[in-house]
Symmetry: C2
Subunit: 126 residues, 2 copies
């Protein structure tokens, strides 16, 4: 017997509960006033992006092979300490923009497909 699951309209599937996730999916920012809760969630997502180091990290990962990069290759380009880079990567991951996978001693961060497109959609007038 098939179970009928109610997906959100835009088919954004929240897979991780600890995820603040590029959520606020399909919210018409310009159509009607945001509620306090909606604004809070959207701001959390945008705050993850509104930082120079994080934008650079994200762009480096996105521009890498398979949209994936090792931490060891991210430290030098941004010119920050290893703990600081680790901190920023954690924030980008919590916000739903990156995922982490480990191979041996190395940690690889990968761009979440569609995460940036979802942000893009937030600002279209439509």
């Amino acid at each position: 017997m098939a179970v009928n699951i109610d997906y959100p309209r835009c088919m954004t599937m929240r897979l991780d509960v600890t995820d603040t996730s590029a959520g606020a999916c399909c919210t018409p920012l310009v159509r009607e006033p945001l509620t306090a809760a909606e604004a809070e969630q959207l701001a959390t997502t945008l705050k993850a992006l509104a930082e120079p180091a994080r934008l650079r990290l994200l762009s480096i990962v996105a521009a890498s092979e398979n949209s994936q990069a090792c931490v060891c290759d991210l430290i030098d380009p941004v010119g920050l300490s290893q703990p600081t880079v680790s901190h920023h990567l954690k924030i980008l991951t919590a916000a739903g923009f990156l995922t982490r996978s480990k191979r041996g001693t190395w940690a690889y961060y990968t761009l979440v497909p569609g995460a940036l497109d979802r942000v893009s959609q937030l600002f279209v007038a439509s």
Copy 2:
């Protein structure tokens, strides 16, 4: 004799010098790594948006008649003091999302056409 002016590729015309403006126009965020300067500028723009009160103010203005609203009609909805609302409106204006016009004692803030679309474009994979 016609003067040949070099507009940025995307035809975003910076009209105000004091404007931090939704700039970073046409920057391929996911195509190649951002430079430090590009990241800095983009972060400034996003920081203006990454705040719950400012998102609500922006959405209220955007949803109003002619995408325009009087300060007096913005204070109550967001539930903050008048100086704080004024502060947020100033930041949104400096970032190029709103413009200010005064009629009598009242100040009206208007959504800058295309400003949000430009932000949207920043995150498309293309």
